[in-house]
Amino acid sequence: MAVQSRPRQALAIAGVLALALGATACSGDSESGLDPDSAECAPYSAFQGHDGESVSIYASIRDAEADLLRQSWKQFEDCTGIEIDYDGSGEFEAQLQVQVDGGNPPDLAFIPQPGLLARFAQANKLKPMTAEQKTLADTNYPADWLKYATVGGQLYGTPLGANVKSFVWYSPKAFAEKGYQVPTTWQQMIEISDKIVAENKKPWCVGLESGEATGWPATDWIEDLMLRTQPAEVYDQWTTHGIPFNDPRVSEAVDRVGSIIKNPKYVNGGYGDVKSLTTTPFQEGGLPILQGQCAMHRQANFYANYLPEGTKIGPDGDIYAFYFPAIDPAKGKPVLGGGEFTVAFTDGPAVQAVRQYLMTGEYANSRAKLGNWITPNNKLDVSNVTQAVDKLSMEVLLDKSAVFRFDGSDLMPAAVGSGTLWKGMVDWVNGKDTKSTLDFVEGSWPK
């Protein structure tokens, strides 16, 4: 189903049904439309000429974030006359597969898993970029990111939003009271932890419970430590199964994670012992920091969304984050993160226009101004990012010495990355040894 003009005819259904349909039909007609030649619309002149066409976008972003997305391209719609039908669903990954198989794909989709993107690309479902779009992508995005949307030498997508996972949340107030410095090396971080243990308190708090995805925060820990104990090349081999999952190098990283999250002296501040990790919802994992019952919580920048309303986030607030330090700073700054990629399943002119618009700096700034969003788009003016942790994330992303790697569990086959790895981590935290856990995950890797 490509781009179509929308027929406005009502369905001929008698009685109540017609009335009910009419009531729902009324909602979508308020196309005020700006004057396409006005000064406001000047930045969109290149995308004009598709008045009245509609483009469908499908993604996993919903609710408040979806509102912000719709708002971010409102002016584009008004100026170009292209109508963007955005649809967000929690069942996105499974639904997208069904829609594509059923011959009914959306025009554009935001895919957060490079593995899924590669699968669609290999099945020839995705439309490659035009030469102009390719040049735009190369100038606006770092190569580290684009390689995750490149399949067989062909670029299929560009990053939209992003998140940075290499953060440790802490309380600036509590740190100031105790006279702790924000650690910049692994060594300092462990020293602070030990000092807190000496005061008979637990320094770390962790929450792994997330319904059927229970265990995913632990996989982020492992990925962060893989990047810190091994060169990034080994990380790439690990996520693509170039080295086996039970390789001694993986095992070293996992044990290093265990030295914190399976250490009964270190966890679980505010919640209990190591056993409480898997029963603590990840949304609540870092909340004890606010009550002074826990000092540090490793979680992505988006954790800000789970903090109670009115919490002051910032270097002098109730809570803030520091970059999860490298073990050997000489080897650079490893950054773990994620994000979603814009891909196209159809290539009508209006679809191409929207696709290209989403790559531009204008779009990135328009979305960033609305808050709660960061992107690897280097045309983004950082002053448009308002929230403190998002600003910090942008600094980390734009840092020249940063070595960015995508969340490994999104790169691995789904059977492992969102299956046995989560399950393995839960068993491991609950007492299973490292070797048999890694053997279990290795055995589950699709041949």
């Binding site: 027929p7 039909a25 919903r62 408040a64 967000g88 059923g102």
Partner: protein, 321 residues
């Protein structure tokens, strides 16, 4: 569901047994202990729903920090959750009112279509003699075991690409957009409901006394006339039973709606909206309490007002429940 032997075919002895057995069971259940036990079970079963109900009136902060039972020691009630979920203006907070109407628009035809088709088919299979009748009945019976998940992708491509055989287009793509997608959902629900509906109604209709049909035919009634004036009034309990069954299934359905209607506000039913209500990061789950109650109001009314048909119809209809 137990098998009840059709009275018309059994002897006097058999007719007597179920009555006495039922009477004995009834007598046994009618003592204080059994009454107490059933009340206890009913209460236990209702506690989670009741807790949800209480929660739906509590303020967001309270829901997220304390259990619903604390509402009794420190009562704090609000209608904010309902207000937000029903009439919230931003797309993120509810607007369930609109989805509620979508649910009705999807459900009512999806109940009436299979009822109409199945009643006609069941009558034909039971009382019209034509070649291959038994084979058709067996095929319909067998189709019940095909899980609908298997048909999702083929049906979706049937709508979006049409049907072509060896390069010859037998049916063009439907190309439905926006509100027209309701048609897809009705079509899908009707398809998935028909095998069970035909089977259930066939069992019921075939047990009607043969004398009735013969008498009508002698008086010169045609098949349409027999169906309208004799069969339809007699199968009302079965129709009602299947109607409720189908109504509850369609109203609560998420999968079919998600695939054939999609998530846009123009066609998505309540269930699709409910699944997204907790937010991208699942941290707005206080909305689920009130959302859940709004979504069960209609099924509760339907079930409570028609439940006597439900039990009677299913018992009389046959072995499938």
């Amino acid at each position: 569901m137990t098998t009840t032997t059709p009275p018309a075919l059994t002897g006097t002895q058999d007719v007597a047994t179920p009555v006495t057995r039922a009477a004995r069971v009834r007598r046994r259940l009618n003592n204080p202990f059994a009454t107490g036990a059933s009340i206890l079970i009913a209460v236990l079963w209702t506690i989670p729903t009741f807790g949800l109900f209480v929660s739906s009136f509590r303020p967001e902060d309270e829901i997220k920090t304390t259990g619903w039972w604390t509402a009794f020691s420190s009562p704090q009630f609000t209608l904010d959750n309902y207000q937000e979920v029903l009439f919230g203006r931003s797309a993120s907070s509810g607007q369930l009112a609109g989805y509620f109407i979508n649910s009705l628009v999807i459900t009512i035809p999806s109940v009436l279509f299979p009822l109409a088709f199945a009643a006609l088919a069941a009558y034909a299979l039971a009382w019209i003699n034509f070649k291959g009748r038994d084979w058709i009945y067996i095929a319909v019976f067998a189709l019940q075991i095909v899980p609908l998940q298997m048909a999702l992708v083929p049906l979706l491509s049937f709508f979006s690409e049409g049907v072509s055989l060896g390069g010859i287009e037998l049916m063009p793509a439907w190309n439905l957009d926006d509100q027209e997608k309701f048609v897809q959902v009705w079509f899908a629900h009707t398809c998935f409901a028909l095998p069970v509906a035909v089977f259930l109604l066939h069992n019921f209709i075939s047990q009607l006394p043969k004398d009735l049909m013969e008498a009508a035919r002698v008086d010169g009634a045609t098949h349409p006339k027999i169906f309208r004036s004799i069969v339809l009034p007699l199968i009302v309990p079965a129709l009602a039973a299947f109607g409720i069954f189908q109504f509850l299934w369609v109203w609560n359905d998420l999968l079919v709606a998600l695939i054939f209607a999609g998530g846009s506000s123009e066609v998505a039913p309540l269930t699709v909206r409910l699944a997204e209500l907790a937010g991208t990061r699942a941290n707005e789950w206080q909305r689920l309490t009130s959302g859940a109650f709004i979504s069960i109001v209609v099924p509760l009314i339907v079930f409570l007002s028609l439940q006597r048909f439900f039990v009677r119809g299913l018992l009389a209809g046959g072995v499938k429940g």
